[in-house]
């Protein structure tokens, strides 16, 4: 029986953050119709035969849904597809949309992992980012989650923010550590086209920290979290041992996943496909045909090898060479021998008998490494 990761996309936010280029909209008036379509798409999975090992409800802001909507969504899920009893079930939550009732209800629905977006521990920075909540809102939600029994919580952080000082980030780290979440995602800000931040940058009004400071923040995070016993297991992710995100591991270890909802991407049997990202188009397509696939992209063997490598190398434990051979029938050194030698010389990659992985310097220049693996 095939096991997959299942991703459900809720593309709504009360307010879009200034740095966000995800497929999310403030168009809450579509929620009702969207959920109907979403449930229709989920129902179409009936009889597919897959077992869901990890379920991830992301957004947007999934917790924007009210209790009734959440119950109905989960009900459809459980009716349509086999969700393993041991499955990791995560929901993304934004402070400001979480209540005690909702948390209890979600737990009852089987949610066993909570991912809370905090980003920074300074209200002034939250405001610059366009977040709808305060540090206090977050703390309250975190405590509530703990009190109703969530024992696997992730907190999202961003560094390299405009007006952010190294000291600010150190403070954020200290406060986060005092809460002892099981998992911390810690992202370097990247200013993407189409975001408010991008527009500010174009106008010269986005005072980002220097590259030196930005890297200092990253090194500070690695240092502080690992010293507290967290496992730095992916470029931007830290976890208490055993609490690494199983769902995200599906992506990085190049396993099959299915994405449901507007703009959701799937990777199944070496084929990638994705749904229309516009909400009305998605709703229309689903209503008409229960299918909203916008594009199918077959992936050649060469590309599969490349993707396998550049995703796998994001993990600090690195790539398993034997596993590469099992999957592709070729030795990794045979395919990428020259690139590997060069990258090792540059001090970006290191190798032992089983594994190939980024060095500490390779973490800063991972793109240079990844690019070498492309066909």
């Amino acid at each position: 029986m095939k096991t997959i990761g299942l991703y459900i996309h809720i593309p709504f936010c009360l307010k879009k953050c200034n740095y966000c280029d995800f497929n999310s909209f403030e168009a809450v008036e579509f929620i009702y119709d969207y959920l109907l379509a979403l449930k229709k798409e989920i129902s179409s999975l009936k009889g597919c035969g897959y077992t869901v090992k990890t379920l991830y409800i992301g957004g947007g802001t999934p917790t924007i849904l009210n209790c009734d909507q959440l119950v109905s969504l989960f009900k459809t899920l459980y009716e349509s597809i086999d969700i393993a009893h041991y499955a990791e079930i995560t929901i993304e939550a934004n402070p400001g949309t979480l209540t005690r009732d909702k948390l209890i209800l979600l737990k009852a629905m089987g949610v066993n992992r909570l991912s809370i977006g905090l980003q920074a521990y300074q209200n002034r920075l939250l405001k610059i980012m366009g977040r709808i909540h305060t540090v206090e809102d977050f703390e309250k939600n975190f405590d509530t989650a703990r009190s109703v029994g969530y024992d696997n919580i992730n907190v999202d952080l961003i560094f390299g923010l405009p007006y952010q000082k190294v000291e600010d980030f150190k403070h954020t780290i200290r406060r986060i550590l005092s809460l002892s979440p099981e998992h911390i995602s810690c992202y370097a800000l990247s200013v993407e086209e189409g975001t408010e931040f991008y527009r500010w940058q174009e106008k010269g009004e986005l005072p980002l920290p220097s590259e030196e400071d930005e890297r200092a923040m990253y090194y500070e995070a690695i240092d502080a979290f690992t010293r507290q016993g967290y496992n730095h297991y992916e470029i931007s992710n830290f976890a208490v041992y055993g609490r690494e995100s199983k769902h995200n591991m599906v992506y990085w270890t190049y396993k099959d996943y299915l994405g449901i909802g507007a703009g959701a991407h799937s990777f199944l049997n070496n084929e990638r496909f994705y749904n229309h990202s516009s909400i009305p188009v998605y709703i229309k397509s689903i209503t008409k045909s229960a299918n909203a696939v916008a594009h199918i992209e077959p992936i050649s063997a060469e590309e599969q090898q490349a993707e396998y490598c550049f995703l796998g190398l994001r993990l600090l434990e690195g790539l398993d060479k034997k596993h590469f051979y099992q999957r592709f029938g070729r030795e990794i050194t045979q395919v990428y021998g020259k690139a590997i030698v060069k990258l090792k010389e540059q001090g970006l990659l290191e190798e032992n008998r089983q594994k190939l992985r980024l060095t500490a310097q390779g973490l800063d220049f991972a793109n240079a490494v990844f690019a070498e693996f492309l066909p």
């Binding site: 990247s190 931007s236 992506y251 991407h265 799937s266 990638r272 070498e372 492309l374």
Partner: protein
């Protein structure tokens, strides 16, 4: 068709770029019915795309027209097209030598330009009858009287009978044809003397081999005849002779006074050199025609394929171009930075540009060229004399007794209001003023003694930008003079990049070194380490810039939905990298090599 020699007229057109030479030629061809209007394509004479685009004629060509004049008789008119650029002065002189007359076309709104003047003087030296034509009289800005006055005052020609035309509108064409018939003398020459034919151009045809374009001065040439090239003594059997209608049309023979072509299974255009004399192998002429000169390249640069694997293709393309361009020189060379490539020699900068563009366009090659250089004559302390056209071969300063560099006399014609800025420019270019001549109250000719190396560096561009395109330039090599030249090296991360070295006058070395390091700083991408850029003369650093180290290059976030997008980003990075040249551990974009070619 038999038209007696008295009714043959051989003529050419002298004009500045854009003054309407090609359009006038088109109208003449059209008017005489040489080509039906249906087949008429604008600017018939300029065959190559490149010529059409740039509006310049690179290689001379010829066309034969039959014109029924007012006197009721038919005349045979041979129009010999001449290249209009300073690099091809020698070709122009040979084309002129094939004619008895010239049409001097002057734009009614622009007046005479430096190049026109130079060519008109050449024509006068060859005793050509010159018919002044004032063209573009239809333009609102036309000042035909002013143009007339210039012709009279600068050249000293009687411009009273200048013909007013608008080639574009087809105005005055008949007057031009009548003037050709009435004012240009018929060719002289002896039918019975041994054959002497002047080669004024050549063309390579894959089937017929090298084809010589000739003007028969004496005797006759016919098919199957054995001919001899008088400069080399090489002999060939004529396979085809013919005339230009304007396409090539075979005839049985050509005789004194006529213009046509000769094919003789000649494998290479090197054997049909412009200016050479063709004679009868069995009954050769005693003396060749005067004026033959072997075309000597004056400007050299390295040409490298941007991608190493293109080397063979580049070699083949250069070989093919050389088949039809005897003045193009090339030989294999190797650069530590650029790998395998060629040292190429050209008549001048335009010639270089044209060759480079043809390689890129017709042969689809992506090239990296190094800074152009002239030939320096160096006397070494051990008494040895060497010639250097490549900075790589520049000797150690300690071994140099003195260096000589080629000088030219540059004539610049310009509106008076720019005299000050142009004089400043010429001074910057190490020029010494020899003469300043007022053509009228609005225009001036400046004559400067100037190093050729300054002209090939950026004088054209500078002149254009500082006079808003109103200045024109002509130059002539005058000889060699002692100069204090130095080799300037560029070091990246401590290593000399040979392809970036160039030879420069000592007073300019510091500035150029600084400009180049600054420019390189902008085009070299940041690396994982700091990259020092240094300019050095003989081991002494004279300028330095630093490309700061890149601190990070990493996508922080990559989940399911992002993979395609992130992969594209990586592909872009990889593509960019592919186009880089690896020099030591520094990656250099192609723009870096451009940086030494031109300065703003």
């Amino acid at each position: 068709m038999s038209i007696p020699r008295e009714r043959i007229r051989n003529f050419c057109i002298i004009a500045h770029i854009d003054h309407g030479k090609s359009t006038l030629a088109d109208r003449l061809i059209e008017y005489t019915g040489t080509i039906s209007e249906r087949k008429m394509e604008d600017q018939i004479l300029d065959k190559m795309d490149l010529e059409k685009e740039r509006g310049i004629t690179i290689k001379a060509k010829a066309v034969r027209m039959v014109y029924k004049a007012e006197d009721g008789k038919e005349y045979l008119l041979n129009l010999i097209d001449t290249p209009g650029h300073v690099d091809f002065a020698y070709e122009v002189s040979r084309s002129l030598a094939a004619c008895e007359g010239a049409l001097l076309v002057v734009d009614a709104s622009q007046g005479i330009e430096a190049q026109t003047l130079a060519n008109t003087y050449l024509a006068l030296e060859s005793n050509l009858e010159i018919i002044p034509i004032i063209n573009k009289i239809d333009l609102p800005s036309a000042e035909p009287d002013e143009a007339k006055r210039e012709i009279q005052e600068i050249i000293g020609l009687d411009a009273e009978e200048a013909i007013m035309t608008s080639a574009k509108m087809g105005q005055g064409i008949k007057d031009v044809l009548e003037a050709i018939v009435q004012r240009i003398t018929p060719p002289e020459g002896l039918h019975e003397s041994p054959l002497r034919a002047l080669v004024f151009d050549s063309l390579y045809d894959p089937y017929k081999g090298a084809i010589a374009f000739v003007r028969i001065l004496d005797g006759k040439i016919r098919s199957k005849q054995m001919i001899k090239m008088m400069s080399t003594g090489k002999m060939f059997e004529v396979t085809e002779i013919g005339v230009f209608n304007p396409d090539m049309q075979p005839v049985d023979h050509l005789q004194a006074g006529e213009v046509g072509y000769v094919a003789a299974s000649i494998k290479n255009v090197i054997d049909t050199r412009v200016g050479d004399t063709i004679t009868d192998a069995e009954k050769p002429a005693k003396e060749p025609l005067p004026g033959y000169k072997k075309a000597v390249p004056m400007v050299f640069c390295g040409m490298y394929p941007a991608e190493g694997e293109e080397y063979e293709n580049l070699k083949e393309a250069l070989g093919k171009l050389q088949l039809s361009d005897a003045s193009l020189f090339f030989e294999a060379e190797t650069s530590a930075a650029l790998g395998f490539g060629f040292r190429c020699g050209f008549l001048g900068l335009l010639h270089m540009d044209v060759v480079q563009e043809r390689l890129e366009r017709e042969y689809n090659l992506n090239l990296i060229t190094t800074a152009p250089s002239v030939i320096y004559k160096i006397k070494k302390t051990d008494g040895q004399k060497i010639e250097v056209d490549n900075p790589t071969n520049f000797p150690d300063p300690a071994e140099i007794e003195y260096i000589e560099e080629p000088y030219v006399e540059a004539s610049i014609m310009l509106p008076t209001e720019y005299v000050g800025t142009v004089m400043d420019l010429c001074q910057e270019k190490r020029g010494t003023m020899k003469d300043m001549e007022y053509i009228n109250e609005k225009r001036v000719i400046l004559r400067y003694d100037m190093p050729l190396s300054e002209i090939i560096y950026d004088l054209f561009d500078q002149l254009k930008s500082r006079t808003r395109g109103y200045a024109s330039l002509d130059y002539e090599l005058t000889g060699y003079k002692k100069s204090e030249m130095q080799k300037l090296d560029i070091l990246l991360n401590g290593e000399v990049v040979d392809a970036l070295s160039f030879i420069v006058h000592k007073d300019k070395a510091y500035n150029r070194g600084r400009q180049i390091t600054e420019k390189l700083k902008d085009v070299i991408p940041r690396h994982m380490f700091e990259v020092p850029i240094q300019a050095a003369i003989g081991g002494k650093i004279i300028a330095r810039e630093t490309v700061k180290a890149l601190r990070k290059n990493v996508i922080a976030k990559c989940y399911g939905g992002d993979i395609t997008r992130k992969k594209k980003l990586l592909e872009k990075q990889k593509e960019g990298k592919k186009r880089m040249r690896q020099i030591g551990n520094v990656e250099l974009p192609q723009e870096a090599f451009m940086a030494v070619l031109k300065m703003e």
